[in-house]
Symmetry: D2
Subunit: 339 residues, 4 copies
Amino acid sequence: MPARIAVNGFGTIGKRVARAVKLQDDMELVGVTKTRPTYEASIANREGMPLYTLDEKQMKVMEEQGFRVEGVLQDLLTKVDLVVDCSPNGVGEENKKLYEEAGVKAIFQGGEEHGIAGLSFNAFSSYDLAQGRKWARVVSCNTTGLIRTLYPLDRMFKVEEAFAAIVRRGADPAEAKGSALNAVEPSLHLPTHHGTDVRTVLPGLNISTMAVKVPTTNMHVHCIHAKLRKKGVKTSDVLSLWDQMPRIRFVSGKHGIRTSGQIMEIARDLGRHSGDFAETIVWEDGTHIDGESLYYYQAVHQESDVIPENIDCIRSMMEMEKDASRSIRKTDRSLGIGK
Amino acid sequence: MPARIAVNGFGTIGKRVARAVKLQDDMELVGVTKTRPTYEASIANREGMPLYTLDEKQMKVMEEQGFRVEGVLQDLLTKVDLVVDCSPNGVGEENKKLYEEAGVKAIFQGGEEHGIAGLSFNAFSSYDLAQGRKWARVVSCNTTGLIRTLYPLDRMFKVEEAFAAIVRRGADPAEAKGSALNAVEPSLHLPTHHGTDVRTVLPGLNISTMAVKVPTTNMHVHCIHAKLRKKGVKTSDVLSLWDQMPRIRFVSGKHGIRTSGQIMEIARDLGRHSGDFAETIVWEDGTHIDGESLYYYQAVHQESDVIPENIDCIRSMMEMEKDASRSIRKTDRSLGIGK
Amino acid sequence: MPARIAVNGFGTIGKRVARAVKLQDDMELVGVTKTRPTYEASIANREGMPLYTLDEKQMKVMEEQGFRVEGVLQDLLTKVDLVVDCSPNGVGEENKKLYEEAGVKAIFQGGEEHGIAGLSFNAFSSYDLAQGRKWARVVSCNTTGLIRTLYPLDRMFKVEEAFAAIVRRGADPAEAKGSALNAVEPSLHLPTHHGTDVRTVLPGLNISTMAVKVPTTNMHVHCIHAKLRKKGVKTSDVLSLWDQMPRIRFVSGKHGIRTSGQIMEIARDLGRHSGDFAETIVWEDGTHIDGESLYYYQAVHQESDVIPENIDCIRSMMEMEKDASRSIRKTDRSLGIGK
Amino acid sequence: MPARIAVNGFGTIGKRVARAVKLQDDMELVGVTKTRPTYEASIANREGMPLYTLDEKQMKVMEEQGFRVEGVLQDLLTKVDLVVDCSPNGVGEENKKLYEEAGVKAIFQGGEEHGIAGLSFNAFSSYDLAQGRKWARVVSCNTTGLIRTLYPLDRMFKVEEAFAAIVRRGADPAEAKGSALNAVEPSLHLPTHHGTDVRTVLPGLNISTMAVKVPTTNMHVHCIHAKLRKKGVKTSDVLSLWDQMPRIRFVSGKHGIRTSGQIMEIARDLGRHSGDFAETIVWEDGTHIDGESLYYYQAVHQESDVIPENIDCIRSMMEMEKDASRSIRKTDRSLGIGK
C-alpha cells in the first residue's frame, strides 16, 4: 500500500513537493491545503490534487469562487500517514500540535528551527537516521546545496575548515516585490545562519558563511573556500569524487555556460518541469586546488533543490526503503534528475 | 508521407521550431544545422536531431570535439521539402540562393526583410495566401503578438487607428550580455519598425509604434491604444471576441497575476516545455473601452510566440491542410497550447 | 523680509525642497520635521536645518539618540508663513487641519488629491492662479513632466489629443524593497490616473495614459503620441518651441545619449547636487512628426523634477513675485538648472 | 611652481582624475585627451579643460564638429611634468614609449600589468616608495578597497591569511551594454587576479580571492574572511583601528544603511560631485570576530575610489611632499573626503 501523503501549504515548495509525490509509485497524494482562492488554488484543481482549506470559513470563500474543495485540514489529516509541512516560515510549531493530535508524521522545511523535529535531513548524510522517525526537517535550499558537495569532500578528504560566501537571489520569479533594485544587500548578522544550519546536519563540520542578496530571481551562487586535511589532493580528484555522487551536476565555462541564467537554460532545454534544476550545479572549470585550499563555485536552484530530499525523507520515515542509494536513485529517476 | 523539414540555425528560435516539428504527425525533422561545437550543438545530439554543419571544416571541428555530425547543409537540403531558416538576422538573403539551387521551399523569420519572401505570415490572416508558396516569412514576436489581437478587432469592429508602446525585454534569459542595467533605452528611429512590420501582414491597418528596452529577460509588454470605428462597443464585447480566438489567453490582476514574471510562472505551472508561453497574453482587467478608445495591455513571450506560426506556415506552404482553423487546432493540440 | 518656510516630512522630496529653499535669497528655511531617529534625521542635523518632530514622545526618542531637536511641529508652525507638506501620501488631509489652526499657508504634493488644495500647480501654467492663495498642490513628477512639454504644444499648435505610455522606475535608488525583479507590471486600472492628474492643471487637454513599472531606479520614460490640430507643423518647429522653454532639455542619441542611465550621467557630470536632473529631458532625435501625429520620448527624474515647481509655488502664494518667468529664472539660477 | 599634469584618456576614471587635479593648489591641469567627438569631449570643453587628441586626423574631425581642440598628445607632453594614463586597458605599454620619448613621468592604472611601472601604488603603503619615481601604477578599485582595510589589519594584528569573495557590479551606470541580466557570473579562472594584484602592493600578504558579477551598476561588495595571528583581538579593536585611518568610512544597518544603494545615497546627500564615494565603506555591524577569524563586509565605489590615490601618487613622484599622511590629508580635504 502506498504511503498516504498530505502537503500542508501549496506555494513555491508545496506545489513542487505535491507534484513529486504524485510521480512516486510508492506514495499517494491524498490532498493539499490552501488558505485563499488564489491562482495557486486553481493549480491544485487543474492538476487534480484534492484541495483542502484550514477551516470552514476559508472553505466557504473558496467554494463561492468556484473552487472544488474537499474539506478542511483536520479531515485531511485523518486520511494520511505523513504530512509535508510547507506552510510559511514560523508557523510550523503551531501546526505540529495538530499533527500530533492527528497522530501523523510530519516533515518540516528549512524555515523552521532544527528543534521542531530534532533531526535535520539531507539524503546523503541523514537517510539512515530518519528511518521510522515521527518528525524530520528538510534543510533549506542553500544548506542542502552546501551539504551536497561538502559532505563527500569531508568523508573522503576531511574538511579542515570551510567558508562560503553565498550570493542569494533577491526574489523568486513570480514575487510581486523584489529585493532592492540595483543594489547588493549583505546579511549583517555574522556569521550568517547558513553555516550553523549546515551543522544541524553535519555537526562536526567547521564551516562559516557570509551572504549577500542581489537583484536576480534565479539561483543562489556559492563561492566556497575549503581546506582539506588530506595532502596532495588534486582538482581532478575532487571532480571525480563529485562525479560519482547523485544530485551534483557539472557545467563548464568552456562549453559556454558562464552564468546562472545559462544554467537555468539547460534545465529548460532538458524539458524539466517548471524549468527546475534540483541538482547542485558545480562549475568544473571553476573548481581549483591550490595546496590545501580548494576553491569552487556552485549554483543552487532555490525553488527545487530540496524537492527530492523531501521525497527521500518520506521514504525513510515511512520505512519504505532501507537503503539511501536506492531511494535516491528511485526519486531521481521519477523526477528526471540525472547526468 | 510526412513533409520533410530542415531547420537551418539552431538557436533560441531554431531549437523550438525543431522540437515543434518533431511533435507533428504530418512532418519529419530531417536535420538541423549548427556552425560551432557549442552547448546548443549538444542539445541536438541529446535530443536525437540529426546535426549538420554549414561546411566540411566546421564538421571536422565538431567531430573532433565528439559531436555526431551527419553532413553539411548541402547534403541536408537534398533530403528535405522545406527549410525553416532560423539563422541570425540578415544572412537569410545569402541562404535563399542555396535553397533556390536545391529546389526547396523556405520559411524565413522576422529578422529578414519582407521582400525576401514577398509574403509575411500570420496564421490568422495569411494562411490561405501561403498555400503552395515557395517562400514565406513568419513575422517577429512583437509583430505576431500585435496581429493576434488587432486582426480580430479590425475584422469585427474596424480599427480606425492603433498606437502601441512596446516595452521590450532587454535580453533573453541565457544571453551573456544584457541591455543597459538599471536604465530604459528608447528606440529613437520613429515611428519604430514594429508598426511597419504589422502592415506587411495587415496592409490596411493604420498603426504606429514606439518602443523602449528595459532590463528584463522575460516577455515584451505592449500598451495599446486603438480607436474603433464601430460605435458602442463595450469592453465585454472585445473580451468575448478575443475569447473565441485561439492563441489569445487572459490573465487577471484580480487573480493575482500582475506582472510579466507571474505570467511566466503560469507557463511553468502548466508544465510547458522550457516554461514557454506561445499565446499572446491579455490582461482581462487591463482592457478598457472609453468611448471609441480601447486600451489594453498584453504580454508576448519573445522566445516562443512565433513557433506555432512556423508550423502552420509549413502546413500551408506544403498544401497539407486547406483550412487555417484546422491547422491551428492541430498545431496547438500538439504543442499543449490551449485555454 | 524673507518668506519663512517649514518642510513637514524630510524624505526624498522633503530634503530636496528644504535644500532648495535654503538656496533662495528671498526665503528662509525655519525648520524640517522627521518622526524617527533615522539616517535622514542625521542629514538635517549635519546640514544645519533646524529639526522638529511631530510630538514630544518622538522628540524624546530622538534626543536620547543624540539628535539635536528644536521642538515639535506645533512650535514650528508658529514661526513660519508657509509649510511645504512632504509627508507620506494620504496624510495631507489630517495635516491640513493643523496648518489651518496655525494659520499658515501650505503646499501639498502630488500624492494628495486635487481637492485638498483646489489648485494643482505647475509653474508654466498656474503661476498666476496661485498668487496669494492659501493652499496649492504641486503635481507629481510624471504629471509635471507631461505638462512641461504638452502645455507649450497645446498653446502653440493645439493638441487635439494626447496619449502617453509611462514606463515607471520601480523604486528609488535607496529603497530597501524594489518592484518585481525581472518583470514588467502594468497599472491595470485604466486609463491610469496620470492623464486625469494632468487635467487638474490643464483642464481642457484631451489626454489618456497607460503605465508600466520596470525594475530600474532612475527616471520615468514617457512614450508620447500627440495629435496637433494645427496643420503643417514640422519636427523642427516643435523642437524650436521647446528650446525656448525653461526646464526642458534636449539630449541626442547621435551624441551617444541613448539610455536613461546616460542622461543621469550628464547630471552627475554637471555637478548637480545628488546627481539630480530637475528638467524634463527630451530626445531630440526621438521626436518625430508624421502628418498630424507627433511622437516623442522624454525622461523625468522622479526625485527632483518637482523641486523647482515647489519653489515657484511658494513665491506665487507668498506674492513675492508677480511674473512667472522671473520666478522661474530666479529659481533655476539658484538651483543650477539651465541649458 | 605647481606640477604640470596631463590626463591621457578622458573616460570614467580620466575625467575624475582631471577634476581632482584641478582642485589641487600644487598642481595644474595642462590638458586632457580624447580621441572622438563624443559627449565626454564636450565635458572637457564645458569644464574648461584644454582638450587634445591623439593625432591630427582626430583633431580635424573634432574641430569640424565644433569642439575646441588645443593640439595633439605630442604637443601636450612637451608642456607637462607627469601624465596620468587613463587610456583603455592594455594600451599603456604603447603609450609608455611616447612618455619615455617626451621625458615625462607617468602613472598607469590598474588595468595595466604591474611590470609596466615596477611599482604598484597605494597611498597607505607605497607613498614613500614612489618618491621621485618615473613610473608608477595605481592599482584597481577592488585592489585599492582591499588594501585600505587589510593593510592596517596586517600591520597591527598580522593577517595570517585572508579570503575575499568579490561581488562585482555588472556595468557602470552609463554603459550601453550591461552584464547578463537576471544572472550571476563567476570569474572562473581561479583564484581570481584580485588577490595576486593585492600582492603587487603588499607582497607578503597571504590572500586569495573569488569573484562574481551581478546585474547592478553601483559598488563592488566584498565578503572578507581574515585570520589574525594576534590573539584576543576584539571586534571593537578592529573598528577602532579602522576608525583612525583616512579613507575608511563606517555605515551601519542599525541606522538604516543596509544596501549598497543606500550607501550611494549618502554620497548624494553629502553633495559629493557625481555622487561619488572615494572611501572604502565598511559595515560597522557587518564586522565580527569569532576566535581568530574576522569577518567583514565592505563596499567600494568602482568609479571613484582610486581618484585620491592618483593625486597622492603624483605628489610623491613629483617629490612635492615627503610625508604620506600630509599628502593624504591635503588630497582628502580638497576632494571633500572625510568622516
